[in-house]
């Protein structure tokens, strides 16, 4: 099972939506996918899978938070994983499958009560290691019992305990999404640098980081070229970069339209990145965007 965490330093970059697209895309390829909502303070991954009607009282009361409360209690027989999952409707032409473990029945009040309870019972980053073991156990149990090809985690935005654990401790790959602006880029790069040297458990490989600029106000191909050069200049030669179209649809479907709209390098974007890395003007003078179609 490959675990991929979707992270963003700032919110509003389409992180959950990309995760949902990725899950469906992988299912189309015949893969089994579990999507896990770890954005406990602002959960909403279930909306991206079409579960946007929360009844009162909720008919579904499972999810990551209720599950972790039960395990924090040290239940002799932990709750069944399948009871914590929602199964999105599967189109007939899809060979694989997607199961969703939402954070809980958010935004109903019983979810917020459960989240408060979790905070009182289990501090995930506690030095005792029990919180970390609880998270590792959830991941291992998903792998053992559900046997998906991919576990996709919607990680908490910003520099938080949960966001850090979901990325540094649970993930094999971290997709770091950012909007093309100074504050988003600066913060993201700090986190990326931290991810690259994050301590890992003995059996874990180093984290693979994929950068994904999103919400671009310039064409994707421009963002891609410039961002790749900037990363090389700043010594990040091994970072993978996947530039998302503004609407977050798979690049293959929209790239030609973006290429057709290609115009030069916008001044604002140039200013943002050149200021950040104090790059020589030569760099930008020698940069030639590909010709418009």
């Amino acid at each position: 099972m490959e675990t991929v965490a979707f992270y963003s330093y700032k919110g509003g970059v389409g992180r959950s939506l990309l995760l949902a697209h990725a899950a469906r895309f992988l299912a189309k390829l015949g893969k089994g996918v579990v999507a896990l909502d770890f954005d406990f303070e602002a959960p909403g991954l279930h909306y991206k899978f079409g579960f946007d009607q929360i009844s009162d009282p909720p008919t579904f009361t499972g999810g990551t938070v209720p599950y972790l409360i039960a395990t924090a209690e040290g239940a002799a027989s932990p709750p069944r994983l399948i009871d914590q999952m929602l199964v999105p409707p599967r189109p007939v032409d899809i060979r694989g499958w997607v199961w969703l473990m939402p954070a809980g029945p958010a935004p109903h009040k019983i979810y917020w009560a459960a989240l408060k309870q979790l905070g009182e019972r289990l501090r995930l980053g506690d030095p005792s290691g029990q919180g970390l073991m609880a998270l590792l156990d959830l991941r291992a149990r998903i792998a053992d019992e559900l046997k998906p090809d991919y576990l996709l985690i919607d990680a908490r935005t910003g520099v938080t305990e949960l966001g850090s654990l979901a990325t540094t401790m649970l993930a094999d790959t971290v997709v770091c999404m950012f909007a093309v602006n100074q504050e988003s880029f600066d913060g993201t790069l700090k986190v990326v640098e931290a991810l690259e040297c994050a301590p890992r458990l003995a059996s874990q490989k180093p984290i693979r980081v994929v950068l994904a600029p999103s919400r671009n106000s310039v064409t994707d191909i421009v963002v891609s070229e410039v961002a790749a050069n900037i990363l090389r200049e700043s010594g990040h030669n091994d970072l993978q970069l996947f530039v998302l179209p503004h609407d977050n649809l798979p690049a293959s479907e929209t790239l030609s339209a973006f290429l057709a709209a290609l115009q030069g390098l916008p001044e604002a974007f140039r200013g943002t990145l050149s200021h950040r890395y104090r790059l020589r003007p030569k760099f930008f003078r020698t940069f030639h965007p590909p010709p418009a179609l």
Partner: protein, 138 residues
């Protein structure tokens, strides 16, 4: 401090911690921390040659674990084991207390325990706790 007072205090502290735990009141961990501190004082007051000194050393480590403070439990164990006059029975007893705590975690998180040891997770959590999320506060 008089050892009689310490003995009275530790008895009361243990009773209090057990009652809090039985009632399911969460701050029981701070009560166990108190027990561990008093046991540590008793361990300083009684030499290893006396049974009460050995009991206090085990009690200090055991209570630290019940408080969820594995770092303290490990530090106390290391200090007690470093004493050359520590009898083999005490050394074995202290190791046993730590091993039992690890086994309790392993049996609670069986799936994770197939891949990772509690000690390994604890070490990582400790580093995490010291350096903050993403290690950015290091």
């Amino acid at each position: 401090m008089e050892t009689d007072i310490l003995n009275t205090l530790v008895t009361e502290a243990i009773w209090r911690a057990e009652e809090l735990e039985a009632l399911g009141i969460r701050p029981a961990s701070s009560a166990w921390k108190e027990v561990s501190k008093i046991e540590e004082q008793l361990a300083q007051a009684f030499p290893l040659s006396e049974a009460q000194g050995r009991i206090a050393r085990r009690g200090a480590v055991d209570a630290a674990l019940k408080a969820g403070d594995y770092d303290r439990a490990q530090a106390l164990t290391d200090a007690y084991l470093a004493d050359e006059s520590a009898p083999a029975s005490l050394k074995a007893g202290l190791h046993e207390i730590l091993d039992e705590a690890d086994q309790a975690i392993s049996s609670r998180f069986q799936h994770a325990a197939e891949h990772h040891t509690p000690r390994e997770a604890r070490e990582l959590a400790r580093r995490f706790s010291e350096t903050g999320p993403f290690g950015l506060a290091a």
